[in-house]
Symmetry: C3
Subunit: 337 residues, 3 copies
């Protein structure tokens, strides 16, 4: 879908420099864009491509406007401008409505007439599918699960019984919401399963990545507040609570009963121990491990640097001697005084 | 399903203090429970809620009985008591039997007449589905796979060809059992696939979490012994063997040919190297990495503490200098003597 | 399928010592093999089993040939010989062709008449399925996705719209190729989704493990070059590029815009930061974290050794004091001079 440059400027809230009549069809990277394409400069490492770009226009900030050889769309945050332009130029395709002949929907389910249930999907008894919701191929919506308006379950998603999704929730393939939490009591060396009686409540505008899992609570619900974004292969344990507008990158593992604040950013592969609390606005960098609660906003890290294997093998045993090293340093200091 | 307090006491093996006639409908947390609800005190951090609880009764140990303002169910292990009470109050719903019209079952498969094959499920040739087994929506049971009595495959589970499950195995959505192990030989820079000829044998009373993967063996079977509990997104490599009643928490990665003993506890996100052996009763805490075998029972750990990013950046280069630091400490000690 | 020993020798390019007429039916481990079975000696730790083996023949290298009590197949690389023998003795079963009655294929899709679409599978509009391709039960092939000749999608695989697979690509159950990358811009504390407009291109002879996820690019394609092998539960972020014949072990997490060279080996559970580049022939050992680019071939590592929990707890706080320790060592050295 094309727009004139002037229309695009208006849609993304940019100040236009140049010929607003130009037609814009697509987005492209700065060094690859050509006529009919708009690009953006959001990251300093690409600045060197600006002077030779052949893009029809570039989304950028005031500081780069003068150096731009072509039309430009000046905004405060070019990355956000890019996001908006990509959305304006790529509207969601209109979606089908109705129940596909190869789907199975329980007579006791309630499917809005504007929703779509795709081939090989299942909607179980007492489930509710809201207006304009999209349930893609192979999805299984469990008993009494609730899918809000404008939700999109792309394909092969599993919602277990009683899970509730707000509006505009986007769930990528293979995600599983509402499987039993890992609750076990030990009876003389044998594990006894603890029935997982809570549910999962997912707020509006949440995105859940491919093959991500969110367990149901043991007694109370697991809660994902509005605007939370979970990447692929994230694990959220039972009874955890993720505050609004927090983002969690791929393969992060959040144990049970974890309380994460609002607007946190959890890096890829981070591990968070059970019962830990993170304050609002805590940023944990990739692959860190969080053993204890973090009570103040800020950026936190753990993890070791990569080394040549040969050197790492020499340093490795020393990690078992750190306390000894510190004691020997202190003894030396005492001796010298 | 409700019980009288006296019936509940009997079902969980508790000593009752108080009025046994009270009806109990549900479980709830200590600070949230009300009439008709039973709660429990298993973790010291919740003791402060005991004196004001409005629960109809509380499951607790002798030491807390006198402080309880309401009826109580005295047991040795309140967490186990809670597990049993949750089970008593929430019996498994009676399940359907038969083959759903939207399932596909091979003529050459053998499905017990008391089993259930759900919509969009597939049961391939020569597969065997035991009595009262539940094969949920979208599950694929491969050729000659065997599903024992009372197994439950919740939804979208894949059992590859020839996998065998014992009795009462519970498999959560998206789990994949019996995919090819990662077996490759190198032929002048190009990988040659090694056919994975073994299978997977899963014992009685095993639980497998959502999106967990257990690979088939290269030559011999991968074995999961009875009573093992695997959380979500666990990976078990080809030819590994997990001893009875071991529990593995979420996102742990177990490479190939690993031998894990009985009653081990593997924390969330733990990584275990190929060919490693763990003795019985080894407990590895969350996110540790196991490079080498552990021959004695005990609790083992690795991992770095979380730090403010600013401080971590200062400490990070030192991790490459540990061996140097130790040598300099030793040199100082030599000089001082 | 059986072969004579002489035929097998020829098929794997081995020099035969012994009676070539012997029939060989199967492969087995050195200490378990019996008549009709061939074994191999590729790893020194199994050498002790050689002298008592009852295998009909053993695949081994020159150095072990004289110690072999039975016939042998002498090769340069016995592990590669084993791979070839396993392939020769276990040819792929002949596969069905056609569209299963319980599959759903769009009228606008193009399915080669020698391909197979299994029960409960979905092939969406404008998808193309090549000659002899196998689309197993429950797979969802999205709009305009292209599946090359001789590809095998085992079961419950999701290919999102527009993904393209080369020839002989093998995809294990639960894998998701082409889900949206994790692209978000921040608008005053609220995340704005960036449409993911790129695709995924997968080369010939790639293998993708169970529940592995490969995201589509934001603007450009995510690329997996020919001969790449990905184990289970690997995550590949948007816009990343993996060079030919690289192998990535289970649960490794590769962020977005990562460039990995050719013939690299990435160990299990490794994490690679966004925008990192790895040169050709880089080997990263299991569970390492790669924060920065690696420009030279070689073996690299990070990670801490496992310790008894009691000792680890003493060493843990010292990891926050490494920089201080180094400064105190230097101060002591200054004092002593």
């Amino acid at each position: 879908m094309g727009l004139s440059l002037a229309e695009l400027a208006q849609r993304i809230g940019a100040r236009l420099r140049g010929d607003g009549v130009r037609p814009i069809e697509r987005l492209a990277a700065l060094h690859e864009a050509g006529p009919g394409e708009v690009s953006f400069l959001a990251n300093g490492r690409y600045r060197r491509f600006l002077k030779d770009t052949r893009a029809a226009a570039v989304i950028l900030s005031t500081r780069d406007a003068d150096a731009c050889p072509t039309a430009c769309l000046v905004v405060e945050d070019p990355y956000l401008g890019y996001a908006r332009a990509a959305t304006a130029l790529n509207p969601e395709p209109s979606q089908p409505r109705g129940v596909h002949a190869a789907a199975w929907v329980s007579d006791e389910a309630r499917v809005d007439e504007t929703a779509w249930i795709g081939p090989q999907a299942v909607v179980d008894a007492r489930a509710v599918i809201g207006a304009r919701a999209f349930v893609g191929p192979g999805c299984a919506v469990g008993e009494a699960a609730i899918v809000g308006e404008d939700c999109r379950l792309i394909a092969n998603v599993t919602l277990c019984h009683g899970v509730t999704l707000g509006r505009r929730v986007l769930i990528h393939p293979g995600a599983v919401i509402g499987a039993d939490g890992f609750g076990l009591a030990n009876d003389g060396g044998v594990w006894v399963k603890i029935p997982q009686l809570g549910g999962v409540r997912v707020g509006d505008d949440v995105e859940v990545g491919a093959n991500t899992t969110i367990d149901r609570g043991a007694l109370e619900d697991t809660v994902i507040e509005q605007g939370v974004k979970l990447d692929n292969q994230v694990q959220v344990g039972h009874g955890s609570h993720i505050g609004a507008h927090t983002a969690v990158a791929g393969a992060a593992g959040i144990a049970g009963s974890v309380m994460i604040g609002r607007r946190c950013a959890i890096g890829g592969g981070v591990g968070i121990n059970g019962h830990v609390r993170l304050a609002d606005d805590v940023h944990v960098t990739g692959r860190s491990v969080v053993y204890q609660s973090v009570t103040e906003a800020g950026v936190y890290s753990s993890g070791m640097p990569l080394q040549e294997n040969r050197k790492w093998r020499r340093n490795l045993p020393r990690l078992r001697q750190l306390d000894e090293m510190m004691r020997r340093i202190t003894a030396l200091e005492d001796k010298l005084e």
